[in-house]
Symmetry: D2
Subunit: 340 residues, 4 copies
Amino acid sequence: MIIVMKRSASEQDITTMIHEVEARGLKANVIRGTERTVIAAVGEERVAGIGSLESGPGVDEVLPILAPYKLASRELQPESSTVQAGSLTVGNGQIGVIAGPCSVESEEQIVTTAQAVRAAGASALRGGAFKPRTSPYSFQGLKEEGLQLLAEARRQTGLAVVTEVVSPEDVELVVEYADVLQIGARNMQNYRLLEAVGKSPRAVLLKRGPSATIDEWLLAAEYILDAGNDQVMLCERGIRTFETHTRFTLPLASVPYVQQRTHLPVVIDPSHGTGHTYLVPAMAQAAIAAGADGLIVEVHPHPEQAQSDGYQSLNFAEYEAMMAACQKIAGAMEKHLGML
Amino acid sequence: MIIVMKRSASEQDITTMIHEVEARGLKANVIRGTERTVIAAVGEERVAGIGSLESGPGVDEVLPILAPYKLASRELQPESSTVQAGSLTVGNGQIGVIAGPCSVESEEQIVTTAQAVRAAGASALRGGAFKPRTSPYSFQGLKEEGLQLLAEARRQTGLAVVTEVVSPEDVELVVEYADVLQIGARNMQNYRLLEAVGKSPRAVLLKRGPSATIDEWLLAAEYILDAGNDQVMLCERGIRTFETHTRFTLPLASVPYVQQRTHLPVVIDPSHGTGHTYLVPAMAQAAIAAGADGLIVEVHPHPEQAQSDGYQSLNFAEYEAMMAACQKIAGAMEKHLGML
Amino acid sequence: MIIVMKRSASEQDITTMIHEVEARGLKANVIRGTERTVIAAVGEERVAGIGSLESGPGVDEVLPILAPYKLASRELQPESSTVQAGSLTVGNGQIGVIAGPCSVESEEQIVTTAQAVRAAGASALRGGAFKPRTSPYSFQGLKEEGLQLLAEARRQTGLAVVTEVVSPEDVELVVEYADVLQIGARNMQNYRLLEAVGKSPRAVLLKRGPSATIDEWLLAAEYILDAGNDQVMLCERGIRTFETHTRFTLPLASVPYVQQRTHLPVVIDPSHGTGHTYLVPAMAQAAIAAGADGLIVEVHPHPEQAQSDGYQSLNFAEYEAMMAACQKIAGAMEKHLGML
Amino acid sequence: MIIVMKRSASEQDITTMIHEVEARGLKANVIRGTERTVIAAVGEERVAGIGSLESGPGVDEVLPILAPYKLASRELQPESSTVQAGSLTVGNGQIGVIAGPCSVESEEQIVTTAQAVRAAGASALRGGAFKPRTSPYSFQGLKEEGLQLLAEARRQTGLAVVTEVVSPEDVELVVEYADVLQIGARNMQNYRLLEAVGKSPRAVLLKRGPSATIDEWLLAAEYILDAGNDQVMLCERGIRTFETHTRFTLPLASVPYVQQRTHLPVVIDPSHGTGHTYLVPAMAQAAIAAGADGLIVEVHPHPEQAQSDGYQSLNFAEYEAMMAACQKIAGAMEKHLGML
């Protein structure tokens, strides 16, 4: 960490800060510039309370040098990780495709959707049973009944089931039915929940919070890894910006950035990332060309009648067309797409 | 809600959308403009699945007209609400001041802080026992022992205790010790937790998530109100923007905006809202001049040694000076500040 | 436009607003909902002062219905436009590739770069002679000498020249040397400059401002079109968001969004859009897969010695590798890339 | 500047970077940590091309240490600057108040407004003659006739005139009529214009661009100072964020931040900063309590009929009430407000 002193800092201030640095078990190197003095502190800077040094006398700012995460870091593990859960493979040249409705609404809805996306090449089925909804007046999901319907769809199609868990107390129940536990964007920093899925035997799809920095997202992954679960997929689903023509802004540069910094595979959600059906196929194609390891896409038999997220769901024909186009891009990237 | 049709929409598309609107129990009014046709749908538009109409044939976009929240709305309850919890009053001309450390670290730390902020005019004590931390390697709080120390500080000073609860399963325990339950920014959309505090007998301080729109924040309050708890304070603590000179951007216009739209009192957190000690007093003063009903401020005996948030904590002398300046502004606003 | 009245609006308020609407030459339709009344105003809403209606008595908000731009609109011109300038074609299945250094620094630098990018498949040469720089202490460009060097590079390679113009008074001079006039992001709303290039005989590359909404960007294009120049390319170069791991956030969903709303071709700048060399190739590939009509990429013989933007410039080998990868994606999209 | 090397950097890479640093006239200090090596480069880091070092072999990132501006810096000039222009004083305990319409529309409009704001305590008159408008179809201002009307209003009231200049070629004309030249937010990085006003004999009000960082804003001021004009006021008018309930987000923490970093006075624009009339008074009060040196506020005889910005303009009665409330806050701050 670099401690930048103010121009007005006294020798006494510098001495005090050297002592504060050493008291935390770090070694202090003092560099005196023409305008400012900086103290370069060498050692394990991920210890508690380092940020508080900014309140020391004569300090202007404190700049960290090391990435705050360790287990997720590619410096620690140079080779890329692959996640495998039932019919779903993400990584190692295989682009996993997770498709299905926002919410499970009925047996007919989820089974017909599973069959349609399976036929078009999906490798897993998504569907929400526990739905975190912005308004208390919106549909809140079928809960355990929804999980049972997802399991039925898996029985009929062989597709792995990806579904969200919203509270630590539900983890045990969802583990019974699901192949992959999804942590939604709103819960990315629900640390109790991260610890619970970290101790579970299921792979985890960790969505990025809409205002989380990439470091915060990787630290959330670190909670899961630190709890002992190494089957973690990162999912970029868009960030909140001033742009309102799309519901969120999908920053595809996350793909190469994350792939350089971490060994974890990265999945793109073009549905939430754009919020409009007509923008989804182009962004799915772009995600693959950017090097993404997977896609998660909302598909519904009748989007205009969906209980949730209809505005960003593809119908079956649109999904099939999207997969055909994505297949060509995947070929150009020399990768395999879903079950195609 | 207004359904804006594309210029290319056919008569058939318009007829289909009229049926979709009527199928949701709403009345459709068709207005034909020179370039576009719009359908104004009249009735209770807060029902599930309205957004999915955007997937209908020939639809360009759907614009909601009504505020999505009801119980929080000033249209429903024109008079302002006041929250009262032990020594703390927020609203009705009384500016509640909640002060104390980010984390409870020891008995000496919390008791001396409680005495110092009490002497300078605070009306309640803050302090975290359950700490949600971005990194798994950071100090995670003293948990129940921290709650006991807060209760001891209350016994010695008479100050009401405000502390965070992070999981539904902890609500019962925290209710035993605290006067006000704080919902942190990361948990603003943890709906299971909102329902749990909504059923508790304690007042709730609901922090705004750093990327939550004001409507999403008020809908989170709606979850608590809808569960039966009407002692809700909104807390603006800054939003995430491109600006990095401050840790968050504190949008004080939230105060008059929220006061026009809702009857709930609004508290400002200038510590998280700026992230730097030297910016806190000016923003505390500005919050009062903007009409805020309360303040929540981080204070620590030795900020440079704090386990968390030292960079944005005031020491005792800084807090006392801030309160003296705030007292003058409160006087100019003809309000009472804390216990001064 | 929809005028949403407050719940508390009186009949008198509604009558007043009907008169205000009619005074602007629009027709007022009143729709009375259960909670609110709205006035749907039909007619040409792009007239001056419409926004001021929000100050009328009892008005809650005013929602526009029509896109604010006309000449740029695909509703007006359904077929896509193609821009042609010397060796550069953008649109109609041809992906134009503009490559070269941020700044023209010397004859050797610009000529060797032109030769290298020409060999790897570029269809035009970029290079700044007039440089708008954030700091007055940074290199400000070679000015007319830089233009002469660009013309020399064109003479030797046949590549069209794309260069920035920063002030209306320079347009005449730059027109002498350049094939395409670039309007930089900082000048997107320099309307005097937009009018000047709108009256020039050269094609224009209009960069999006980093905080411009897409509507504001298309209105800037409208200034150029309205002045009589229909050879306009839109260039997405990233927006400013809270994300600091990349210098800007490149929202590739702009491509399908803009292509739906307007007939103008859209070019992506992955260099400014990411700000780091190692992220550029992936985003160039993604841009093509998203359907972009062109690329503009920074290339320098020795990025670490560049006078400007070295951190986001490719060297010749990196550019060649990027073009080979992009060529495969372009093939999958059934388009032609640059001169390949 | 600190050059952070990658963990994988070789000794050769480090040696290369030491040479690059020394080639730029800086001294290199190498610090070897447990995980990373950093090179602290000491000397004048504001030279051209420093950023390009990030492209050097083995480099992870480059962190600047010194503020990029010099003349604007409080480290250079510890005492605060005061700007004086006719009846307007900004700084030194005097809060300047600039009030008037967005656009000059007619003699009656500007003269009656000048009289009304003068009576309520304003110290200067604002009004736009050259209007940069987002749409080419909006009212573009009365141009020189508008300047003449402003001069007439000054003659009748004694108020200094503040008006915008949008192009270098207009500076000479505007200087004839105005006491203060305003640089609008869209032109904050129009460097040719900054140089032109920097050479003029008039004080300058420099608005912050809606996506400019504070450093970029201060560097824009540096252009004016560097051209020889030391009568510069900074004007915070709100930044663009995801929040759409207000038109921009007004970050009042800019006031104490800027006052710590620079000696220049800072003026707040609560009209553009909020975009809604009913939010303006609270934010004007808050600005004063945050320590602002001035206010600029839009006032119009009939906001609902204004040619521009009516939605954020106060009528005369609203302005008078706002000034009375602000006067109380100014008193609590022991400052003088406008001509009160």
